[in-house]
Amino acid sequence: MSYSFDLAQTFFVDADAVKQSDAVFITSVDLYFYSKPIQGNTKTGIASPGVTISICPVDENGPMLESAISTFSSRKEYSDILVSTVGATPTSFTFDQPTPLKTNTSYAVLIQFDGSDDDFQLWYNKSGEVKLGSTTLTQTTSGKIDGFLYKITNGKVLTPERDADLKMAVKVARFSSTNETFSLVNDAHEFLTTGEFDGTFRAGEAVYQDRTPGTGTLSCNTTSANVVGSGTSFTSTFQDGDTIVITDGTALNTDVRTIVTRTSATAMTLNAPLSFTNTSASYLKTVTGFIDYTDAITNTIVLYGSTANSTVYLSTGTTLVGVDSQASANISSINLFEAQEVIPSYAVRMPAGTAAELSVSFANSTYGYSAARSTAIQNGTRYFTAPLGSSVIHSRSNEVQNPGSRSDGKSFFGDLTFTTTNEYVSPFVRQENLDLFVNRYFINGDSSDEHTVNGNASSKYISSKVVLSANQTAEDIRVFMTAHRPTNTNIEVYAKIHNSSDTDETFASKNWSKMELVNSDTTYNSTTNIRDMSEFEYKIPTFPLASTEVTSGTFVVTNGSATITGNYSTVSSDIAAGDLVKIADPSFAENYFVASVLSANTTAFVIEEAVSNASLAGDGRVVSKATNPNDAFLNNQNNNVVRYFNVAGAYYDGFEAMSIKVVLLTNDDTKIPYVDDLRAIAVSA
């Protein structure tokens, strides 16, 4: 926050005064003004300067101005600042929301005069001076911890006035109830699919549904909030509090305003003057809102702050128009948002002796409501998950037409209950921190073709290409991750590697090789605690994971020969040139080798080089064939250095460029895996 203050007064929050509460809530601060500038004739040129106060913590150097609690400030305009030549009249700076402070801690009240006008003067107590209205000398030590007054120059430089204190009163809240329940509902969103956008909407801009203008015209200008109609029926057409769209048809001359009062059929007062002047402007009684999100690819628009009600609501076939962008889009469908996961992030603070509980309920797709679910507040923890369709947020335009059992039609309602055992303290949360994240998962359980650049998985992460340092050919990859993997979910990891000598393929065109999970495949995390995570490690497999064993027969391997002979007569039906095969001794799991096939006939196939290991020779050998012959594998015939065959059939050992792909999968609407952190290491074998 920017800070520029003129005075600071520290004070100590004494727990002894509030029944040993851990915290108190400041509701207001009273200051006593001796004088203020002359309105319209100030030395700063500001006609009617006001005063703003804030609160900040204190350290050994005094008030920490840069830590002023920006959200807790209070302002008085000129006319509300009361002066007294006898110091008897307080000006009370009331905070919009009680300001929570820790007890047994010092804080400072920061005071900012508009323009730093020193014609603002406050009553203060200076040690050694005569007390007002008496002959007694004053003192400034009155409590267990002294406060200090600071003058602040250039908005930031503190100069202590250690023998002086402002006259002020800091008031704290005292709660009359031991429990209180607050009801929360969803904001008025519209989830829309539209036709192609005409123009580009701007995030946050006001939009309105285009409609036939109302009967008559109106006269408006830029200086008055009063508009005068001609041939209008304001009284019967609108209600106080309605929004109205006024336009003269000229680009950018369209405003959204709120009707404060309707004086007559031809006169009403708006919340602000118009941005243009016109004596025969048109007006619309229509739905307005603000752009929350747009996607011109999927023709999606999400609005917040929709003003739809039971008589005026969005409908398909109508057009949305942006007030500032003048972009437009035709509404083709009005949708709902399916909640699959709810995470309250209420930032509720619960000092000792307090507690908070949340109870929520959602509408379903047919405008009924689920049973309320309750739990103690645990900020940031997943609250519940729900199958698709069972918990939804409807568009406001559909809510108002289908209110169901609730008169307001809201899709979500929650009760937040605070309890306390100390009258000076309560759980607290600022309204703007009452966030409830309703998530929908974009994930599926299909990892088909993920070895290519066009896999079927919906949810995946692809790292950037990493090029190793010169002469640093790596021989293996290990991937480590801290992840949450509940049952019915999975996390697959793929590596893309490229050897710089491989000129047949570019890095971009290389396929992905699926990596092997080193951990037990039965390691699964809690389905209820989203923070339950495990360490997972992945490596390049010794043979591609996607493979099939040839079951038609066995094979004979001869040391020194590249020909592998089958004991049956349809070998070429199983094996073909270009295949990647694993030839193994079924009696010894580690006795195998992997090779690429150069050719095959009905009785035998030929690999790219002669067998040079006597222990592999013999009959009864079993052959497996990789589904994707270009997958990388750790070559047990070469110290487990990673090898891959490219599309031209050439093999390469080691790599200088790599990338990692993490594929998130689930077969359950209510469970998802996620990765908290990811580390990939290219290593020597």
């Binding site: 920017s2 500001i46 974009f442």
Partner: protein, 142 residues
């Protein structure tokens, strides 16, 4: 020799609107807003109750409120990771906003001394949801 690379996710700021109120400025004076020391284009500024592109004019009490349409410039259809990298300047986070009477394309470093009237503060630029689904739309190979 093992080589280690730690991948990091970059959080690109979402387009968003800020409503900014400034007090204590020189009354009845045109001011200019700067985002990270670059003057904000008038096409992205709208005085409250005014029109897009109108001057930022303080009232008689040196106050004004305006709306700032922030956009990182990243098109929703961006599919090139390299292009994405070029936009790292749009990383979300806390950004400095200055309002001053100085009218230049970029904010002079000594603006606190040379401005007749200025105010400064910071705003938090929020992000796209950096979930895999967003990356899948924008930055994966699909």
């Amino acid at each position: 020799m093992p080589t280690y690379k730690n991948q990091k996710v970059i959080f690109i700021a979402a387009p968003q609107k800020f409503t900014i109120t400034v007090r204590g400025l020189l009354p009845r004076t045109i001011h200019y807003a700067y985002f990270e020391a670059n003057k904000i284009d008038s096409g992205n500024i709208k005085p409250v109750n005014g029109k897009l592109g109108d001057d930022l004019l303080t009232d008689e009490n040196g106050q004004m409120t305006f709306e700032y349409y922030y956009d990182s410039g990243l098109p929703a259809s961006a599919s090139s990771y390299a292009y994405f990298q070029e936009l790292r300047a749009s990383v979300a986070g806390t950004k400095k906003v200055v309002v001053t009477n100085i009218n230049q394309s970029s904010l002079p470093t000594n603006y606190t001394d040379t401005s007749l009237s200025y105010a400064e503060s910071s705003i938090g630029i929020e992000i796209y949801d950096a979930s895999s689904s967003e990356f899948n739309t924008g930055f994966s190979e699909k």
